[in-house]
């Protein structure tokens, strides 16, 4: 008579354990998925950034010091400073890229300027974080007229 409800109890306990285990496991898989997308997004943005910088290096762009706001559009030509145009790679719309290029002379101060440190700062939204704050990717290079 004691064993009459044992299967049900067993099943209920098992269900409970399963649900208790599945939730974090499922969450873990979900966060792993997110991780894949996050790092894929970051790699894509880094690739777009290095493509912009490579073009700037090849054009030996030497503007005045300051910030130059940019809004890169997928697959389009981007005008920086109205003198230089760079080709932007293709990227999904959700990235919503924006940012700026900061130019500062090097060496700083009064000694002869040898070139410019060009810092490309890109703000983007990852697919997994829509609605949350933008992520930032920054990459720099040095260009010179010598």
């Amino acid at each position: 008579m004691k064993r009459r409800g044992m299967s049900l109890l067993e099943i209920l306990i098992a269900s409970g354990i399963m649900i208790a285990a599945m939730v974090p496991l499922w969450g873990l898989m979900g966060s792993s998925h997110k991780q894949v997308t996050l790092s894929a997004d970051e790699i894509r943005v880094s690739q777009l950034a290095v493509e912009i910088l490579e073009q700037i290096e090849n054009k030996a762009w030497l503007p005045l010091d300051g910030d130059y706001a940019i809004v890169p559009l997928s697959g389009e030509l981007l005008s920086i400073d109205s003198k230089v145009k760079v080709q932007i790679g293709s990227f999904p719309e959700y990235l919503a890229l924006g940012g700026k290029i900061n130019v500062s002379r090097f060496p700083a101060g009064t000694s002869t300027e040898i070139g410019k440190v060009i810092r490309l700062i890109l703000n983007y939204k990852s697919k997994e974080q829509i609605g949350k704050e933008d992520k930032i990717y920054e990459l720099s290079t040095f260009v010179s007229g010598y």
């Binding site: 049900l8 099943i11 399963m18 493509e51 090849n58 080709q87």
Partner: protein, 173 residues
């Protein structure tokens, strides 16, 4: 009655477990395919970019250090020469070899080191020369056909000689 309820719950739970497991497994499979494909694509582009950044492309043959032989139009598909001369006279050769399971990207360095990438999922790799830049397109397919095909595209801008460097006159031509 109890049995029915119990069996029903078992079916629900077991079904849930089985569905979870199969879905989880296929999600894991898809997820791992995407993760691996993304990384392999990123590594291939990163290596090529690292090699090409240490070289330069020029329309003048005496200055050009990237030897790119397209197969169709301006597109290289992996069977013809693609050689990049880097620092110190070293060079690397790229090729795309066909295997039974698909394709593999092969990078052979002049010091003898041979590396293979993306053997598991690579189906297609092409490099197109566009306005002096190199557009790398890759296609990864899941052999189990569970995951959606993974495409990755990148553009590499080889350094170009600028200014006086283009006019250097060596002692011996």
């Amino acid at each position: 009655m109890e049995m029915l309820i119990a069996m029903g719950i078992v079916v629900v739970i077991a079904g849930g477990v089985i569905i979870a497991m199969t879905r989880g497994a296929s999600n894991v499979h898809r997820g791992s395919f995407n993760a691996v494909a993304a990384n392999q694509a990123a590594w291939i582009v990163s290596l090529m970019r690292g090699d090409i950044a240490r070289s330069n492309y020029d329309v003048k043959p005496e200055y050009n250090r990237i030897f790119f032989v397209p197969e169709i139009g301006n597109v290289w598909k992996g069977t013809t020469e693609f050689k990049v001369q880097t620092h110190g006279g070293r060079f690397v050769n790229y090729a795309v070899e066909t295997l039974a399971t698909g394709k593999v990207f092969v990078r052979t360095a002049s010091d003898g080191r041979k590396q293979r990438f993306a053997a598991e999922y690579l189906t297609d790799l092409s490099v197109e020369l566009v306005d002096g830049s190199m557009v790398v397109d890759m296609l990864f397919k899941d052999p189990a056909s569970l995951a959606v095909d993974y495409k990755w595209s990148a553009r590499i801008y080889p350094p170009t000689l600028a200014g006086p460097d283009r006019f250097w006159k060596p002692l011996t031509p």
